[in-house]
Point group: C2
Chain length 493, copies 2
């Protein structure tokens, strides 16, 4: 049995809980934390555990120790932690998509290890159980001397599909082994789902903002995007979607109900129910990207939209790229009534998914190590996101708004109206810092004064310096506009 990631230390759990409370606002800036003795009694842990947790939080910059007074939540600039503004509640007309330039800069930065990685949403390798996974892979390669000698033709490796069906139970979705097709990551699944449901020239409804990779794909497929606003708390604006379905007749809906990228919103079960009904009423398929569904900071697992699907119109796309091993490229598609078409498309697109990575991931899922790893990863991401929010609050100019993610590892920033995010991206790159500028998250170049920051790496002086740099660049932009600068409500949309 390969060695698995260790169970978390008690102090880590405690520190993560407190970090979460700070992020949620349950503990406010300047508030005094319980004394070490009292917390030790409350939680039934040793004094040493509490002290170690407080030390960890202090190192993360979330709390501070005042001599003779105790521990306090660090004071943040009062202005800094406003939530993102609400969107105008209407969909835009279909737009041809062009997000190329900002994306190209982001990808170039991704390949350069000298650049601080706040741009692409990637995780630090040290957060992933990749060593354990690679050991499983090594054992499989040794034992299965002919594995990889044949095409693992669609729908893909049965043992992996069995594990996915098993996990689907924990999602609250009834999916069997035969409902899955394995793919080269979630992007191939999304590509196949779009090919199965649309034709070039079709309009499809997407969230606004949304992941730039999806917009790039839409652009390259000759599709047009109808942008549906995302509310910073409740997620996809269903009234706006309803209107778009009635007036613009998109051929499909593509959305991220769980931990939306970049806003990290999670739609309620009621909203998912309504979303599915909208699809049904207008007879439109819904492509669901669920890659962050396992990353809620509080350890819950929101149901995918697919769990509410009564007639096979939801095409669920997922992968282990945000939780286990991006470089393994193991993803899946549960395409409902489009399953046969999707299998054919998978075959002509890449014939088969690589066999050995599927085998290793299947074994990892079967081992139980995945849930243990997820518990640890969620805590770490929670702390990293909280730390990044703190740093943003300290370094960015007044009036900056920032999302309060319930999961995942990206932050969405709205800078004071008029700040040019693309200019900041370019200047930040000159300083060796990558960041994702708002306009690449929109087919119409909206979100001109927004930034997405990835929080995939443990806090470090290097990250602190990078955020300071970004804050200074943003402040310079805000200064350029002037303190009385144009106040345009909704300018970020």
């Amino acid at each position: 049995m390969p060695h698995m990631a260790d169970a978390p230390h008690l102090y880590e759990q405690l520190a993560a809980d407190i970090a979460g409370a700070i992020t949620r606002g349950a503990l406010r800036a300047g508030e005094r934390l319980p004394s070490v003795r009292r917390l030790s009694e409350q939680r039934g842990v040793s004094v040493a555990t509490v002290l170690t947790a407080y030390l960890a939080l202090e190192n993360q910059g979330l709390i501070e120790t005042r001599p003779k007074s105790g521990h306090f939540v660090r004071v943040r600039r009062a202005s800094a932690l406003l939530g993102p503004t609400e969107p105008r509640s209407r969909a835009g007309a279909p737009a041809r998509v062009t997000v190329g330039t900002g994306v190209a800069a982001l990808l170039a930065a991704m390949r350069d290890p000298a650049i601080v990685p706040l741009g692409a949403a990637t995780l630090s390798p040290e957060l992933l159980p990749i060593a354990a996974l690679n050991r499983m892979m090594a054992a499989i390669c040794k034992e299965m001397s002919t594995a990889g000698a044949s095409y693992d033709a669609p729908p893909g490796l049965p043992t992996l599909r069995r594990q996915l069906a098993r996990r689907a139970v924990t999602w609250g979705a009834e999916l069997g082994e035969a409902d899955f097709i394995t793919t080269v990551g979630a992007m191939e699944a999304l590509h196949i789902a779009l090919r199965a449901t649309t034709r070039p020239g079709d309009a499809i409804a997407v969230e606004s903002p949304t992941y730039f990779g999806v917009l790039q794909l839409i652009e390259e497929m000759g599709l047009r995007a109808i942008e549906i606003p995302v509310h910073p708390v409740s997620g996809l604006d269903l009234d706006a979607l309803d209107e778009a379905l009635r007036t613009q007749r998109p051929r499909a809906i593509l959305c991220v109900p769980n931990l939306h990228n970049p806003l990290a919103t999670v739609m309620s079960d009621d909203a998912k129910q309504r979303l599915w009904r909208l699809g049904q009423r207008h007879d439109v398929p819904i492509i669901e990207d669920d890659i962050h569904g396992d990353l809620m900071h509080d350890g819950t697992r929101p149901r995918p939209l697919k769990a509410f699907d009564r007639d096979g119109r939801v095409l669920l796309c997922g992968s282990v790229s945000k939780t286990l091993a991006p470089g393994y490229r193991v993803g899946w598609l549960a395409a409902g009534r489009y399953q046969d078409a999707a299998e054919r498309l998978k075959f002509s697109q890449s014939v088969a998914t690589p066999t050995l990575p599927q085998m290793a991931v299947a074994e990892f899922l079967a081992s139980g190590g995945y849930d243990r790893h997820l518990r640890r990863l969620r805590r770490q991401l929670s702390a990293q996101v909280a730390r990044m929010r703190e740093a943003v609050a300290h370094s960015f100019p007044p009036g900056t708004r920032v999302s309060a993610p319930a999961g995942g590892f990206v932050l969405w920033l709205e800078l004071p109206a008029g700040c040019d995010a693309l200019a900041i991206q370019a200047r930040a790159l000159e300083h060796g810092v990558a960041v994702a500028p708002g306009p690449i998250f929109s087919a119409r170049g909206r979100f001109g004064s927004c930034l997405r920051l990835s929080c995939g790496f443990p806090w470090s002086p290097r990250l602190q310096a990078a955020v300071d740099t970004l804050g200074a660049l943003a402040a310079a932009e805000a200064g350029r506009i002037g303190p009385g600068g144009r106040s345009r409500p909704g300018a970020a949309n």
Copy 2:
């Protein structure tokens, strides 16, 4: 250093040489082979080696021993080994493509190990050095504990691209590391190449017949196919292509200059030169599928069209799926002037190629084991193809024509005019035998009386029985048509 495939035995080399001579017709049916002693002297090998080679050839059914007389090339039916007919030398009008049904049956058969695999062009695992490759992979997984933890963003793994550049020298093509993008097999490379050069609705020139997977891809991409005939000896009909370029203005050309699938033709260097000039004159990109280029039975390595490319209009696609490990899904694209667009498409299509399989293939190529393996594989395929031709000659009805492949591992059969290949495919499946029917190799359902047989597995009684079955089904079809059946020259086109 992992263990590599052994060098070939002398007798294997000798048997392969003789099998090749029989296939080429240099040794004819009924002809007497040199005496054991004489051949032993001629080749400078032991008598035992010659005896073992003759025994191997006898077991393969290629020669027979006549007591007191010596060894003879087995007598074949005089009628059976005609080459395929020449095509009408004109391109067809562009056609929407629909090859779905025959392909679906083929894929279903591919997943069922109980079915004799004469359909899909797959190799027996025992012919592949997969155990050695898997051992390399195991070592990499152990040593590189964080490999796979990051996306290997396009253009893909530098060590693999370096090895590809090194091999390109042996192809006679000047390609550097930066000229390659790694892909999920050659099909992803072809898909990206088509996306980079065409838009839905465009017409593209393809060979007729051609690989059904490409036709399926063209169909799903909303492209139209202009079918250019392939001459059974010289390959792509360049006069017909020239005419199509002038009159039908295809947006791209997709072809297999080396070991065409299914005809196994190899274009001469002069023809490749002319093909490139045609592309240049009409300013059309040429997508080259070179997946069989390493599989010439005589050990030569024909130059890819890319070697004649002076202005970056050739997009070379290749993989190790036909030589090393189909299930590793490691391929590549050298996209010339379309390189930037291809990198972007690769990113939005599947983000990255899986890291570890690339690492293992790179190490295998660097080890020198690949060339050693290829020498052995070519001999084995040569013998398997020769054996299959023999069996076809014995089992199929008079008037059957069969290709004489210089490499690779597929045979192309033209049954007597009027025989229904799709009906034969369906009936063969009932008997547990998969075969690829001619019409799936054409966008217009041509080649209605043709079959492609895969020779990827070592000869066995099971294969013999399968060919007997196919021959009987073909004979029944021919009988249905009647002995004086319609003689339609060119019906196979």
